[in-house]
């Protein structure tokens, strides 16, 4: 699934490790989600949306 995580992260100057720490997951997990190799569960997607003060739809898109 495509997403804007890299952009949102860059806007805040966060590294993958910074985001991982805030989400309480591994850096590898953040990388897998960011590169679209792993689709997060709804709870993790909500956590991301809250962290970036936006909506899930603003971060993820199911369009090809």
């Amino acid at each position: 699934m495509k997403n804007r995580l890299r952009i949102l992260r860059a806007e805040r100057g966060w590294s993958q490790a910074d985001l991982a720490e805030r989400l309480e997951v591994s850096r590898q997990s953040v990388n897998a989600v960011e590169t679209g190799k792993f689709d997060p569960s709804l709870p993790l997607a909500f956590k991301l949306a809250r962290l970036f003060s936006t909506t899930i739809e603003a971060i993820f898109t199911d369009e090809p």
Binding site: E24, V25, S26, Q28, S29, A32, F38, S41, L44
Partner: protein
């Protein structure tokens, strides 16, 4: 990369179960070699090392229940599936060979080790895929 609390617990529990397994194998082998137990006691004694193996299986279940990082949980499940698939494939092929050719008998006690060999082989490939 720092390991999660669940991973650290899993490693510790698995190590304890593994040490228990080795100790029990040595104790049971010595008992059978020197004391030649008979009757129900022999059955009870023979089963003891398997309890440590069951402990390792429970450890895997506990890790899956305790790991909060869903991606790491997913990776772990994928490697388990590779282990399961590998064991089923090898034992199926070996079983057919045993049925129709004079190939040596495959001891079922090796199944658990074989499972972990496939898990061990698959893990680095899975890690590399998501790096």
């Amino acid at each position: 990369m720092p390991k999660s609390v669940a991973t650290r617990r899993y490693i510790r529990r698995f190590a304890v179960a593994m040490i228990a397994y080795i100790a029990l194998i040595l104790i049971v082998s010595t008992c059978f070699h020197r004391l030649h137990p008979m009757g129900p006691f022999a059955y009870l004694l023979a089963v003891l090392p398997a309890l440590a193996i069951i402990g390792m299986i429970v450890t895997v279940g506990l890790y899956l229940a305790e790991e909060k990082d869903e991606f790491q949980r997913n990776l772990f499940v994928q490697s388990m599936l590779w282990g399961l698939g590998g064991v089923l494939a090898v034992t199926s092929v070996w079983g057919m060979l045993e049925s129709f050719t004079p190939i040596p008998h495959f001891e079922p006690t090796w199944t658990f080790s074989l499972f972990w060999i496939f898990v061990g082989i698959s893990s680095p490939f899975l890690q590399k895929r998501y790096r």
